[in-house]
Every structure is written in C-alpha cells, then in structure tokens.
C-alpha cells in the first residue's frame, strides 16, 4: 500500500470514530465546540504519530510478553510531553481539555494502532498510519463539535451564525453529545460504510 493509501485508509475506511468506534470518551467529552474538538483531535494525532513511529522502530527490541507495558510507557511519555507543551504554549487549550489530555494514554485508538499497525509495519508507514488515523479522528471530532456548537449555541468556530436564543442548549450539554454522535454515525452507516 502506498503512503497516501495508508493515510486515506485511516481517514475513511478505518475512521476511528465512525467505523472502529474507538476513543469514545474524548469524542463525547471534548466536543462542546468545534475548536475544542479540533484541539483534542490534534493533540491525539501528535501522540499517535510519535508513538507509532517510535514503537515501530523499537518493536524488535521488546520481548513479546512485556510488549503492552512497554508500549504504554512510550505512549504515556509522549502524552506527558504533549501535555507539558500545551501547558506551556497554549494554556487556554489546557484549561478547555483538562483531564482528557492525560487520558489520551488510555485512549484505545493509540494502543490499538500500536498493536495492529506499528508492531507489524516499518517506521515510515507507521507514521503515515498515525497521520491518517489522526486526521480521521480530528475530522470526526471537529464535525461533531461543529454540529453541537451550531445546534446548541448558534455559532460555528465561535462565529455567530444565528441568534443564540434559538439554539437548543441540550446539544452543548451532556445528552447532546450522545444524540449528535448517534445521528452522525447513522448517517455514516447509510452513506459511506455500506
């Protein structure tokens, strides 16, 4: 498979949110606006690319029986690096995402891709897989955030679209996360998956 093919595969055919149904916690928890969803997606993508690349490089140095703890340590390392960088250079993002940044460690997407892709492929292909899955995840989160923001607060990327009073606040609150994702995945089932 070509590098581009790997990336596109991650965005559409193996879309982590709509097809693989992985990483649901940040998907629901950080998408109260399009920008929040996008920041979460990009943070996860950074971890995915680095972790996939490094794990693929060192996979032969790790005995099989301890591969999961080793992968988790590598992933946790990158998560902490991303967390420290966000705290230092984008404190506003840190406030919005809060607990969900350290929790990227237990995001099943990251460990899942390490197991199913990086452990079997070369470093460059693995990095491409990280990019593809990362973009797929970011797009899904941004889309979900955009829908919730638009329906709930009448804004898109913080720009007013229609007066706020007409928005249904539920969509910004907890139930809206589940409901919006339900309809989006139903639409994805109907038009793209087949």
């Amino acid at each position: 498979m070509s590098k581009l093919g790997i990336i596109i595969n991650g965005i559409v055919k193996e879309n982590p949110t709509f097809v693989l149904l992985l990483g649901m916690c940040p998907t629901l928890g950080t998408t109260s606006s399009a920008l929040n969803g996008m920041s979460m997606g990009l943070a996860t993508m950074a971890v995915l690319i680095c972790a996939n690349f490094v794990i693929s490089c060192v996979k032969n140095l790790i005995p099989d029986k301890v591969h999961i703890p080793c992968y988790i340590v590598i992933i946790a390392g990158f998560v902490t690096i991303v967390q420290l960088l966000i705290k230092a250079y984008a404190p506003a993002v840190d406030e919005k995402l809060g607990l969900f940044i350290p929790l990227i460690v237990v995001n099943c997407i990251v460990l899942g891709r390490a197991e199913s892709f990086a452990a079997k492929n070369g470093p460059l292909d693995s990095a491409c897989d990280g990019i593809g899955i990362g973009i797929g995840f970011t797009l899904a989160l941004t889309l979900l955030g955009l829908c919730r923001e638009l329906l709930g607060a009448g804004t898109a990327f913080n720009m007013p679209v229609y007066p706020e009073q007409f928005g249904a606040l539920t969509f910004v609150l907890a139930p809206g996360a589940f409901i919006t994702l339900a309809y989006l995945s139903a639409l994805f089932n109907k038009f793209i998956k087949k």
């Binding site: 649901m24 340590v73 946790a76 998560v79 350290p102 929790l103 907890a174 409901i179 339900a182 639409l187």
Partner: protein, 199 residues
C-alpha cells in the same frame, strides 16, 4: 454530612459516564446484559478503590517530594496495570468464585479511563485520603448504576424493531443520550441539599 454530598454528587449529579464521559468504552461494550453490566461495575469498584488508595500515597510520598509530578501519568498507568495483574493472580488463587465472576473484565479495566481519571481527579481536586476513598467508591457506584440502567434498556431495545440505519451503535448512543438527559434532572440537587443541611 460533607461526605453525603460528596457521594450524591459523584453518583447522580456528576455521574462519571453520563456527565463526565469517562468509561464510555465499557459502557457501550459490556452493556448488553444486566448481570454482566453489574459484575463489570463491581470489578471497576474493586480496582478503582485499590488503585486510588495505592496511587495517592505514591503521589504525595514519592512524586511531590522529588518534584517528579510530570511522571504522574506514566507511574499511574504502570501501577494500575501491575495492580490489575496482581489482583487477577490473587483472585484466581484464593477466591476462585469471585474470579469466575470478575475475571473476564479485569484485563479490560487497565484501559478503562475511569480508573486513571479518578486517580488523577483526587489529586486535582485536592482531596484528602478519606475524601478520596469516598469519592472513588461513590464514582464506581455511579458507574455501576449507569451500566445497569443502560443494560436494562438495551435488553428491551434489542427485541424491538429499529430502523435499519439506526441499528447497533446509533440506537445505543441515542438511548445513552436520553439517559444522560434524565440524569441532568439531578443537577443542582447537591446545592439544594447542602443548603438544606446548612452547610
């Protein structure tokens, strides 16, 4: 009194699944039957309590004195993974009955973000050890409650007719949304209660 409010907040008002979106994977994955969901909840309760009690002294006893707070995530996840393994081995050897009930869920729990989330939260909220214990227990009970309620509804929706596109995940998510909406009815209960108790 303070603890009663803490418990009610953690179970109902700030339910870990329906209001904070942690532990969604087991919530969607292991909720097809009520008794499985209940046992999963019990396993989470067990691990969450031990994990919180173990990570709390590690944070204040080792990480803070040596200024190693940045190692929190790595240390916690390793401790939790090791803990789950140990619990599994001990249960298998000494309590086979309990093991047969909880055993299948234990490996899943390492990557259950509620455990790590609660362990980090008690540090962020600056709880003391007693508050942390109560918070961890109540949060796990809230998780169990959400699991069992959700599984109960899913047992019903499984035998009803669903539009084709909505089958599977979409209808489950929609159900969860309605459940979350019901739980929103609890918001403010903690404030009212603390006012009534004069706190």
């Amino acid at each position: 009194m303070e603890y009663i409010i803490l418990i009610i907040t953690a179970i109902f008002v700030n339910n870990i699944v329906l209001a904070q979106f942690l532990g969604i994977c087991p919530f969607l994955g292991v909720s097809k039957k009520v008794d499985t969901a209940g046992w999963m909840g019990m396993a989470v309760l067990f691990v969450m309590l031990i994990a919180t009690l173990v990570t709390y002294p590690i944070y204040y006893g080792i990480l803070v004195p040596y200024n190693l707070q940045f190692m929190q995530t790595i240390v916690y996840i390793l401790v939790i993974a090791a803990l789950v393994q140990t619990v599994e081995i001990i249960l298998k050897k000494s309590m086979p009955a309990l093991y047969s009930a909880l055993g299948v869920f234990l490996p899943l729990i390492t990557t259950n973000c509620t455990i790590l989330g609660v362990a980090i939260n008690v540090i962020n909220f600056e709880y003391n050890l007693a508050q942390s214990t109560v918070y961890a227990t109540a949060t796990a009970l809230g998780f169990t409650l959400a699991m069992v309620l959700f599984a109960g509804i899913r047992e019903q929706t499984a035998i009803t007719k669903t539009p084709k596109g909505m089958e599977g995940t979409p209808i489950a998510l929609l159900t969860a949304g309605l459940l979350a909406m019901a739980f929103m009815g609890f918001s403010g209960v903690d404030k009212g209660l603390s006012a009534a108790l004069g706190l």
